[in-house]
Symmetry: C2
Subunit: 333 residues, 2 copies
């Protein structure tokens, strides 16, 4: 066990950031054991220092409104503030300064992930973002690492819990579609801007990240053949029911053509699936990703695809792995 | 891209070893791209040089019956020969000599994995063994890495495809139990020594490896509360059917007590599950592992848990990751 800590800067103290900070405080000893050195939370950057937050157990003096200085002194920067800027600038500053980065920011990665990963590569640093794609369900790790010796043929999934909740209420409980959307909003299951979920933008960002990791191609949001669920009517659900099927919002990516001239297609659309198919059986806010690979065959991964604690689990998993690698590299020197 | 290759020694050319060798030959360029340097297969150690093998595309000159010299000159040693010795000695020689190791040898790891991992730790090297536990279904990686920032509460799974095939034939097709065992043997679904599968030894080894990775405890084969399926009778299946349930061979591990005085229990036994439960719906040779963690909630991972290509996928995934880390460490020097 090294006594030199790994310095962790946290950017953002919303639901996920607060959960990460509390766990780091509660479980300092456990994390030190797993990493091989203490994880020292050096600060939590927030926009508004005065806003009330659930940070029980976390030292109040850690809050700061100066993210830049925090980033400059960190070994690992955890970005859970969301939005394009200042998140992007801070991540780039972190990488250029020799820090590794953990982020849950799927829209930033979908739009600028290629440049961010190229910068990390040049700097010899890592960017980890399991949390950006269906929270703690380890799909990024499976596509990037577990299947690194295989050829992925296709990825398809229910990757947005809010729309699945709506579609499941209509299909199983017979709630009229518009009422189901209303209820999901009332219960806080939809994003502040519900079009993110309902128009498939959230799902599109996730499938873009998975496709890039699977095939190393530069697909972007503009390449997604995208159709949300807002155009659906009760008649569509009625028709599905009549044929033993249900409507699910399926995000998919598949690869066609030879390796030398590979085409990757990416789509998000409402899709009819058999009620007994694993997609059909996926209830409420659960997410399910099905990966088909040449040698591994069909792998299925499911779990909660959202939530503060679930997302914090993925963030902390990435953090422990990056910190462990840093400690190991330090010891090898 | 570095031009200095990563030197790979392959121990064993059975179903898995031959599949690994063929992929390394077929896809040399793809692997070089992913690793950042060529993967050079320096040799394949076999017991009997004269035995016919399916090694199309692999240079015949690579075969050798001198595993020791091969190991001594390798950066990564891939052990897929099975058995306790000489596998153990060769793995220890590899680690002591500065190589990383990939192995699919679950019985060796279940019996001597603690010492092997301790040696790797002392030498600053890695032992990866995703392939030892349900082939390409990425359960080891999930328990070791993805959930490294979480607290796992329990793991349970259908982790032996052969027994699941037997149980599924009885439950769904009404085949008498003894006939189903016979048919599974005839079709090559059972190990050469069928007690490995039928008495739950194979499942026990897998759950031992998962429990160690989840909680860092030194459980062994002798700690497994183990009951195979050979004691089951047609009357048991009849009774299950009458209550809408099916019998599955479930391996499980759970943690009880506070962190300071943690007790881990490990069991393999025939268990009644609802026919509509995800375990009940697991057909033929499919495996399903359910992991329950404090923050991540319930994760489910499923896929084929055996097979030469499927196991090779996991072996190659580990190989690419270890090789990538070596290339990166080399560049940082």
């Amino acid at each position: 066990m090294s006594s030199t800590p790994v310095r962790v800067a946290l950017l953002g103290a919303g639901t996920v950031g607060a959960a990460v900070a509390r766990r780091l405080a509660d479980r300092a000893e456990v994390f030190a054991g797993r990493v091989g050195a203490p994880l020292e939370l050096t600060g939590i950057a927030v926009r508004d220092l005065g806003r009330p937050r659930d940070l029980s157990g976390v030292l109040p003096g850690l809050l700061t409104d100066d993210p830049g200085s925090l980033v400059d002194s960190a070994d690992v920067v955890v970005e859970v503030m969301g939005g394009l800027q200042p998140a992007r600038g801070l991540i780039e500053r972190a990488l250029a300064g020799g820090a590794d980065v953990v982020t849950a920011n799927k829209q930033l990665l979908a739009q600028h992930g290629v440049e961010i990963e190229a910068l990390a590569e040049r700097e010899g640093r890592s960017v980890a973002y399991e949390a950006a794609v269906v929270a703690a369900v380890p799909v990024m790790r499976t596509v990037r690492d577990a299947l690194a010796g295989d050829e992925i043929r296709s990825i398809s999934g229910i990757v947005n819990g809010s729309t699945n909740y709506v579609l499941d209420m209509v299909a199983r409980l017979g709630v009229p579609f518009q009422d189901a959307v209303q209820q999901a909003g009332d219960r806080g299951y939809l994003e502040a801007d519900p079009t993110e979920d309902l128009e498939g933008l959230d799902a599109a960002a996730k499938i873009v990240l998975l496709a890039r990791a699977a095939w190393g191609v530069q697909v972007g949001m503009e390449d997604v053949q995208r159709e949300g669920i807002t155009g659906l009517t009760d008649a569509d659900f009625e028709e599905a029911r009549g044929t033993g099927q249900v409507i699910k919002l399926i995000a998919s990516a598949w690869c066609s053509g030879p390796a030398a001239d590979r085409r990757v297609e990416v789509a998000v659309r409402p899709t009819l699936v058999g009620a007994e198919h694993p997609f059909g059986l996926t209830r409420e806010g659960t997410n399910l990703v099905i990966i088909d690979a040449e040698s591994a065959g069909t792998l299925r991964l499911s779990g909660a695809g959202a939530g503060g604690d679930e997302t914090a689990s993925a963030v902390l998993g990435d953090l422990v792995n990056l910190a462990r690698a840093r400690v190991r590299a330090r010891e090898a020197d």
